[in-house]
């Protein structure tokens, strides 16, 4: 691997947010394709970060800093992107369900998805079923991600799926669910397409949903 790409990767993994912009700026001047920088630098780095998180080697604070570092790098490389190289992998609509104000898990999934090249639309927290359905109809995302931290708000996920079905939109979007009280059995029970134990799995699911 190109030595400069390797440095970018390391900067993201280690959360060296002060160095990343100059590193990316330098490599973009060399004529290397922005897509290579993104794929082999930024996305590869966030994959490693996700794996280290899943393995319990790092925790949310380190992950937040890596995500911030990745975003700073992405902002530098973006203006160099043209045509296909800059096209997102797909659109993911994300939100925390009605009655639930927790957003860190959702935000980490969003950061990882953006790091993996997806266009993410964040609906925020405490989202009405109607708003989710309206946005699915309007944006037509490939993937809808629903998050809940509270056992009391888990049933809202089912309500979203039922409402999408009632409006004839269910088959137009893949649905993944996640959050502390949620598991694969619950996801299956409510008719979701998948359950992400953590942000890494959410990215893997999204990739599989869009055929990557």
């Amino acid at each position: 691997m190109n030595e400069s790409i390797q440095k970018i990767k390391e900067a993201i993994i280690e959360g060296h947010h002060r160095e990343i912009e100059s590193l990316v700026r330098e490599i973009c001047k060399t004529g290397i394709s922005p897509d290579t920088v993104i794929q082999e630098g930024l996305i590869a780095a966030m994959d490693t970060v996700g794996q280290r998180f899943s393995a319990g080697e790092i925790f949310v604070p380190e992950m937040l800093v890596s995500a911030l570092t990745m975003k700073l790098g992405l902002n530098i490389v973006k203006p160099f992107m043209t045509g296909e190289a800059g096209a997102p992998k797909g659109a993911v609509l994300m939100g925390t369900v009605k009655g639930d104000l927790h957003d860190i898990g959702k935000n980490i999934v969003i950061m990882m998805l953006e790091g993996a090249g997806f266009r993410v639309i964040d609906l925020g927290v405490d989202i009405d079923v109607e708003k989710v359905v309206e946005k699915v109809a309007e944006i037509r995302p490939q993937v809808l991600g629903l998050s809940a931290l509270l056992t009391t708000t888990m049933p809202e996920m089912k309500r979203v799926i039922e409402e999408l079905r009632a409006r004839g939109l269910r088959d137009r979007v893949k649905i993944m669910v996640g959050g502390a009280p949620v598991d694969a059995a619950f996801a299956e029970k409510i008719g979701a397409d998948g359950y992400g134990k953590d942000a890494v799995q959410a990215v893997a699911l999204s990739r599989s949903f869009v055929g990557l």
Partner: protein, 336 residues
């Protein structure tokens, strides 16, 4: 030792003589909608009115069969007094702070009269009522948030964790140190008001932050809190904390209240000889979605593993069926 709820709980809290059965205890809330209906007291009144708060706590002892009464159902009594704008919720929704007044990590000035703030006063008054009504009969548990949890409320959780990740040690330590006196003052006031033990809830949660964060930032603070608080303290930290149990045992608390994610046998093996253990019936799958038999089995597993006091792992979901909650006292009444 007489096998009264109070005696059984206090003896188990100190790792003392075993009575005829283990106690059922709830360091965190067991208030659920069915319990509210059964005693005629509902949220949000039970957060705001001392009589309602005490009555709902009594219902856990008198109607469900727990050996404890614990009258604090939210994690926001302190943050309300420290200036967060509050949404006190309703019977199916827990309270939440709507603002984080120190997102810029500006100095937190603790009001001199903080013990007289309504959200503090209500807890202290409820504890005093409980002392008068069931003192010496049921164990009365108070609860304070530790400075880590309070920092989430003051700065915003994600913001606080980001600064932690960025290595802003001075910022983090300053905020923790500014908030520590709140936990100490509230805990001591709760003992004076009538609490037999006070929970120190401080969410350096497993999976969220690492054991090294707890060791480097919070352990010295917890040691100082426990040294400066008069009575026994119960540490409550959520998540899978198997990787930091030894640090908890060094914090000076008398017991650790833990989640099902930590296997009861593993917890007992690691620190069971050093501090008491309380828990760890699963909330989401067992108490909320399971059957009384599922709850009973988990409670018996914890008893057989050597957990000292049996209870839910954390504040129970508000839609928890009362029959499931009752399965915990049922399991402990079968003895060891």
């Amino acid at each position: 030792m007489k096998a009264t709820p109070y005696n059984l709980f206090m003896s188990a809290l100190y790792g003392g003589r075993k009575g005829i059965r283990p106690p059922a205890g709830n360091p965190t809330s067991i208030a659920c909608v069915e319990l509210m209906k059964a005693c005629g007291v509902f949220f949000p009144e039970a957060h705001l009115n001392a009589r309602a708060m005490a009555d709902l706590a009594l219902a856990g002892h008198e109607l469900v069969g727990f050996d404890t009464v614990m009258p604090e159902y939210s994690v926001h009594q302190e943050s309300a007094a420290l200036g967060c704008e509050m949404d006190w919720g309703n019977e199916t929704r827990m309270p939440d702070a709507k603002t984080a007044p120190h997102a810029d990590f500006s100095d937190v000035i603790v009001p001199e009269n903080i013990l007289e703030k309504p959200s503090f006063r209500v807890v202290l008054d409820a504890l005093s009522m409980l002392r008068r009504e069931v003192g010496g009969q049921a164990a009365i548990i108070g609860k304070v948030m530790g400075p880590w949890t309070l920092s989430y409320h003051m700065a915003g959780t994600q913001n606080f964790l980001l600064q932690l990740g960025l290595g802003e040690k001075d910022k983090i330590n300053r905020m923790l140190r500014q908030l520590m006196p709140v936990s100490i003052a509230f805990a001591n006031a709760q003992f004076r008001a009538g609490a037999d033990a006070v929970v120190l809830a401080d969410h350096a949660t497993g999976n969220l932050v690492g054991p090294y964060h707890y060791r480097d930032y919070l352990l010295p603070i917890h040691q100082e809190i426990t040294a400066r608080v008069g009575g026994p303290m119960i540490l409550h930290i959520c998540g899978n904390c198997l990787d930091r149990l030894e640090f908890f045992a060094e914090s000076g608390v008398d017991a650790y209240h833990f989640e099902w994610q930590v296997d009861a046998k593993a917890a007992v093996e690691k620190i069971g000889k050093r501090i008491s253990l309380i828990g760890n019936v699963n909330n989401a799958k067992t108490l909320y979605q399971g059957t009384p038999e599922d709850v009973y089995r988990q409670a018996r597993y914890a008893i057989e593993a050597g957990v000292d006091i049996i209870g839910p792992e954390c504040a129970v979901p508000l839609m928890t069926p009362l029959a499931n909650l009752r399965a915990i006292p049922t399991a402990v009444r079968e003895g060891y």
